[in-house]
């Protein structure tokens, strides 16, 4: 039996997420929540037979019990996530946070999904699109040897960055940098995001620079990077190693390209896919736990 889900936020991320959830064997998208009745995301959700509201999370709350919503995805903005989360947790809904608010623990599936099993968490944070694309590579290097400093550069097509992302650009850099440290394993992290308006739009590009404490073990790092690429490709097939790892003294650099599935925005918007695919994979893991009884959702009073 599939777990019923709600999506909060009918922008690029929420709408792309809907497509991913519709294909999931154990997640069932029931509600799409927006604030603009004319938003493309809400219209698409209605067409797909989902229930919708344009009154924000307050429009959903009264229906949570009758529709047995157990997991909600918040794809609004860092500024409103705290309040959305409070209201949802009062109803005992597990929240997957796709904003950079990061009030819950980070989850980057190929690196630390398993660590969330059995933790009874009611809110997990998916870092940022740039974080999902790059932290697996930082981790691939730090699993071989200590990384003194990890820096990521995420370049996304302007058309794929909605108003929420733009208003939250500081939260993006801060949250990503922190997760490069906490999940990637770098002692110090830095994140840079660039929006490129080229036409036709550029496919998402990500560059990862690691400075290792000692001379990099080129063979072991190269193998670790290739193995991690395969892990990410399991849920984002368009995740590609474009160049590298290249070595220059203690610097290890990896050049990535992330092509999406083209569910909502065209394939250039790999930044949407890597976020929504990671969120879906995380929710599927929790859904299994709910189904087999190892995770009991509790209402936060």
């Amino acid at each position: 039996m599939a777990i019923n889900c709600a999506m909060i936020g009918s922008g690029n991320i929420g709408t792309d997420l809907m497509a991913k959830l519709q294909r999931s064997p154990n997640l069932n998208p029931v509600w799409m929540v927006g604030i603009d009745p004319d938003s493309d995301g809400l219209l698409k959700a209605q067409a797909a037979g989902l229930k919708t509201t344009h009154e924000g999370v307050d429009g959903l709350i009264p229906h949570i019990e009758e529709d047995n919503i157990q997991i909600a995805f918040d794809a609004t903005s860092a500024y409103v996530h705290g309040e959305n989360n409070r209201k949802l947790q009062e109803k005992g809904v597990l929240v997957i946070d796709l904003t950079p608010a990061a009030i819950g623990p980070f989850c980057v599936p190929p690196v630390n999904l398993k660590e969330h099993v059995g933790e009874q968490e009611m809110n997990v944070n998916m870092v940022t699109c740039g974080g999902q694309a790059t932290i697996p590579m930082v981790a691939a290097v730090s699993q071989v040897q200590p990384v003194e400093y990890g820096e990521i550069v995420a370049t996304v097509a302007s058309k794929s960055a909605g108003p929420g992302t733009r208003k939250n650009i500081d939260e993006f850099t801060r949250t990503t940098a922190r997760a490069v440290e906490e999940i990637g394993g770098a002692k110090k992290g830095k994140a840079i995001i660039i929006l490129n308006p080229a036409e036709p739009p550029l496919i998402m590009r990500d560059t990862v620079h690691c400075l290792t404490e000692t001379e990099p073990d080129q063979k072991a790092i190269t193998e670790s990077v290739h193995a991690m690429i395969k892990e990410v490709q399991k849920y984002v097939p368009g995740y590609k190693l474009k160049n590298g790892p290249i070595f220059d003294g203690n610097r290890v650099s990896v050049f990535l390209e992330v092509e999406g599935l083209g569910d909502y925005l065209p394939k250039y918007a790999g930044n949407l896919d890597i976020m929504t695919a990671a969120g879906t994979r995380t929710a599927e893991m929790f859904a299994e736990e709910i189904e087999n009884g190892t995770l009991t959702l509790t209402k936060l009073v």
Binding site: V153, I169, D170, I194, A198, R205, H209
Partner: protein, 340 residues
């Protein structure tokens, strides 16, 4: 061109844009000596930070010899009349960096975005206004959009709280008529209390000519750097600009003899190689590529054996924007693969 009696404010960028030319390695003493000399020459506004601004120190752009805080704390207290500005690129620098710079006593913050992406500057411009800073919206790579579209972006920055808007020719690509069109569109479309500025690069030797076109079209702030010390073939050389302004009767308040001496005696000796229009920096202007890519492309040429000019042309074709320094090595590796 009759510009007699016009009053403009010159803004020296040698201690920020010039950082690109020295791979961000100015010593504190270099910074202080040059800033003090510029102050004495009557330069009203001087920019001091890493070449990529607050938060710029990184693998991607190069680590600074000192932190921005160290540079600002060294320079700001030494100024008698000149004010100090800092640059901030959202996506790289954050509001926390702005807090730091405001605490160091800057008077001006320049919040820089690509010419079509002004809406990433909202958090930073709003915060700068809360601090009461002179707040400039700095629209980079202004050749990549139309004058009308540039105005729409400028209006967003004004709505957030900017009191001055720059058309920034980061690639040194614009020709005088292009500058006239952009500055005139901004002047006509923004209210009179909003100042307009122009930032030039000298890659096509248009620094002075473009600045004059900007003044004629309504710009009152003109960027440049002493001895042209800046990325690519440098910025508009300010000692030359002051001399030209004197001949034309444009008031700058800067002493032409003193600024010539700063150029010759302080700036030039700090340049690792003379700032000039070589084939690579000319390619920046010709192909419309971000000027600070220059040294990174030269380094990629050395490391991967692919000519810098070829790398820069490829970056121009792919529509790379400011900050995409990471693509330089990637493009070099791609060209190498294809020719293998």
């Amino acid at each position: 061109m009759n510009l007699k009696g016009k009053k403009i404010k010159l803004h020296d960028n040698a201690l920020r844009d010039g950082m690109h030319s020295v791979s961000h390695q100015f010593s504190l003493d270099d910074m202080v000596r040059m800033a003090v000399a510029l102050d004495e020459a009557g330069m009203p506004l001087i920019e001091v930070t890493h070449g990529d601004g607050l938060g710029g120190s990184s693998v991607n752009y190069g680590f600074g010899k000192h932190t921005n805080r160290e540079y600002l704390e060294a320079v700001v207290p030494k100024m008698k009349n000149a004010k100090i500005s800092a640059l901030l690129l959202p996506g790289l620098g954050t509001v926390e960096d702005l807090d730091m710079a405001a605490g160091c006593g800057i008077s001006t913050i320049r919040v820089a975005t690509h010419c079509t992406e002004a809406d990433v500057s909202e958090q930073h411009i709003q915060k700068a206004r809360e601090y009461g800073l002179d707040t400039v919206g700095f629209l980079m790579m202004a050749h990549m959009t139309s004058p009308e579209a540039l105005l729409e972006q400028a209006k967003k920055m004004v709505d957030y709280g900017a009191n001055c808007i720059y058309a920034t020719d980061s690639a040194g690509y614009l020709l005088p008529d292009d500058v006239t069109d952009r500055i005139a569109a901004l002047r006509a479309g923004l209210s009179n209390d909003i100042e307009i500025g122009f930032h030039g690069h000298h890659n096509m030797a248009m620094g002075i000519a473009n600045s004059l076109a900007a003044i004629e079209a309504g710009a009152v702030r003109i960027d440049g750097s002493v001895a042209g010390f800046g990325a690519g073939a440098g910025n508009t050389p300010l000692e030359v600009m002051v001399a030209v302004c004197n001949r034309m009767g444009i008031e700058t308040g800067v002493d032409v003899d003193k600024i010539m001496d700063v150029a010759e005696d302080i700036a030039l000796p700090l340049m690792p190689t003379p700032t000039r229009i070589d084939r690579d920096s000319l390619t920046l202007g010709y192909a419309g590529v971000y000027s600070s890519f220059l040294l990174h492309a030269k380094r990629a040429e050395k490391n991967h054996g692919v000519p810098a000019r070829e790398i820069l042309m490829a970056l121009g074709e792919m529509g790379a924007v400011g900050g995409q320094e990471d693509m330089i090595e990637d493009v070099a590796l791609e060209i190498k693969k294809k020719s293998a």
